[in-house]
């Protein structure tokens, strides 16, 4: 076994996986990755289950050091500068940290969450099938809280598998799509039009529980108190002050404010990666379109292994080959034209 040490890390970083399902009826929050596609992409590059536990890194930087052996990792999600001892590491690639090497990740350049998947996945004690951290409920493993400098993971020794990159489809642009309801009848047509026709910005006070939106005040037809009912990821509730809140992964399982609309599954990760202060709009789509998109999104994640390619960062390949003591043969056997010395595709 090797160890991966969290040498430094910013706030809002924690271990997340696909989420904790099956006990919402008892009030147990789902949690899980804010950007499921990025989690799945990172895991796929190191051969893990797409929803295995990985490190969700918040908007600030982080550094990770391998100890007691090599550790193979992959990064996907919000883009940021990454390097090992000054050698750049591209987003959406895997890389092997040799014993003692440190991977340095900078601030997110746009978006918020980057996922560091570790070959063999993070190990811990699952509760309801999940290691996902929900700091409020004291749940999650191996650390039931945000990560701190000095934390460490016991992980598989690197397999020595060739490094890979993953070609993800260009993220959709345009409005965040929603299905109206469940309580859109608590709002009149003018206020529904205001909701769908206005620019919104994500408030800086947002977190994994909810994204607070800044924009015009949405008025209720019958006041803001409804009898509590169930919530889902992406529920857009409108509290008394008229400022909508999109419920995210650490949402309470029930809530008592009218919910005007629900973000479609395929767009939740994109909303999660929208930076505070960036203007965006919502667009209502039909249930049929939303479900088509949900099926496409599920298929995209299932087929991620088809999007893997040999990583073409020349330095790393040469080192790997050199380590295996076959570099001389391999390099001379290759057409030099196939080697590309680019860090970013």
């Amino acid at each position: 076994m090797s160890r991966l040490i969290v040498a430094s890390i910013g706030p809002a970083s924690s271990v997340q996986d696909g989420g904790r399902f099956g006990a919402q009826r008892y009030g147990l929050t789902v949690s899980g990755a804010m950007d499921r596609l990025a989690l799945a992409a990172a895991n796929t590059m190191v051969g893990n289950d797409p929803f295995a536990a990985a490190v969700e890194i918040g908007p600030f930087g982080a550094t990770f050091t391998a100890r007691d052996g090599a550790v193979r990792v992959a990064i996907s999600g919000a883009p940021r500068n990454a390097d090992i001892a000054g050698k750049p590491v591209a987003m959406d690639t895997s890389v092997t940290l040799k014993d003692g090497e440190t991977l340095t990740l900078g601030f997110a350049r746009g978006g918020a969450f980057t996922y560091l998947a570790i070959e063999g996945a993070i190990k811990g004690e699952a509760v309801f099938g999940s290691l996902a951290v929900n700091a409020r409920a004291g749940l999650g493993s191996p650390y039931p809280r945000a990560l701190q400098a000095g934390d460490e993971f016991t992980v598989d020794a690197a397999s020595g598998a060739p490094e890979l990159r993953i070609d993800l489809p260009k993220p959709a642009s345009g409005p965040i799509r929603v299905v109206l309801g469940p309580q859109d009848d608590e709002f009149d047509d003018a206020n529904k039009a205001l909701f769908l026709g206005s620019d919104w910005k994500i408030s800086a006070t947002s977190d994994r529980m909810g994204y607070r939106l800044e924009g015009p005040a949405i008025e209720h037809l019958h006041g803001h108190n409804i009898v509590s009912d169930g919530t889902v990821n992406g529920s857009i509730q409108v509290p008394g002050n008229g400022a909508p809140i999109v419920l995210m992964m650490d949402r309470g399982t029930s809530g008592g404010y009218p919910k005007i609309a629900t973000v479609i599954t395929a767009d939740i990760g994109r909303l999660a990666q929208t930076s505070a202060g960036t203007a965006f709009r919502f667009k209502a789509v039909s249930m049929a379109e939303a479900q088509d998109e949900a099926r496409r999104f599920a298929q995209l994640i299932r087929a991620l292994p088809d999007r893997l390619h040999a990583s073409d960062v020349v330095e790393l390949n040469v080192e790997a080959l050199s380590d295996a003591n076959v570099a001389g043969y391999a390099v001379s056997a290759m057409d030099a034209g196939t080697w590309q010395v680019t860090a970013e595709p």
Binding site: F21, G22, A23, Q24, R25, Y26, G27, L28, T29, V127, R136, A137, V179, L180, G181, P182, Q183, I226, V227, S228, D229, G230, T231, V232, N233, G234, S235, G252, T253, S254, K259, T262, V263, I264, T265, M287, A288, A290, Q291, E293, A294, R295, A298
Partner: protein, 243 residues
Amino acid sequence: MAPTLPPPRLLPSGDSAVTVEFSRTIDDAANERVLALDKALAASPIEGICETIPTYRSLLVHYDPGKIGFDALGEKLLAIARQPLPPSTKARRWRIPVAYGGEHGIDLEDVAKALKTTPDDIVARHSGGDYRVAMIGFTPGWSYLSGLDKSLHMSRRQSPRLFTPAGTISIGGIQAGIQCLAAPSGWHLLGRTPVRTYQLHRSPTFLTEPGDRVTFFAIDHKTFEELDRAAEAGEIVAEQVDA
């Protein structure tokens, strides 16, 4: 008994969940319908349903749109929801010990004053009630109870407290509650129970189920300490009787 409820409505909750709503208000007859639909789905599962969440007046059904679409699922759910209620089966009843007042129930005196009676009378009315777990939500194990004595209905605190302790027994509006973990709350705190409705590594992890009956009985603060230690060690410390 023929409760006059409007027909159930399907409310779209995104592309992977649907709410089956039986009433817009808190209503025991509606809650009974919610729990009956929940039970029916547990007994004969519909392919594609992942998880159901009963609440006061509706059942939230999470499903995989890759396995079943909104229209097909909605039709099946409404067909089951419209069926006559099955004869009510025997519910479990939990007798929950409560240390009322003092440091454990800091609002008891104020509630008595507001309702122009004595703390003992409030305790008698609260522990004399016959409650049902209508739903569990907000935080793990937080059991929302229907059946609060009408004379104890009072609006919530003007300013919610940011911290209320684990095991808080409280009332808010027309509801009563058993709170498991420390949490913010705007309800009136009458006492504390040593019972953990949620405890990891205990079997069962969750004590209460929607539909369970609940009654309370008063214990002194010394007994609270004893039972609290036993509960911490994994004992259930609530008495289970057949309702």
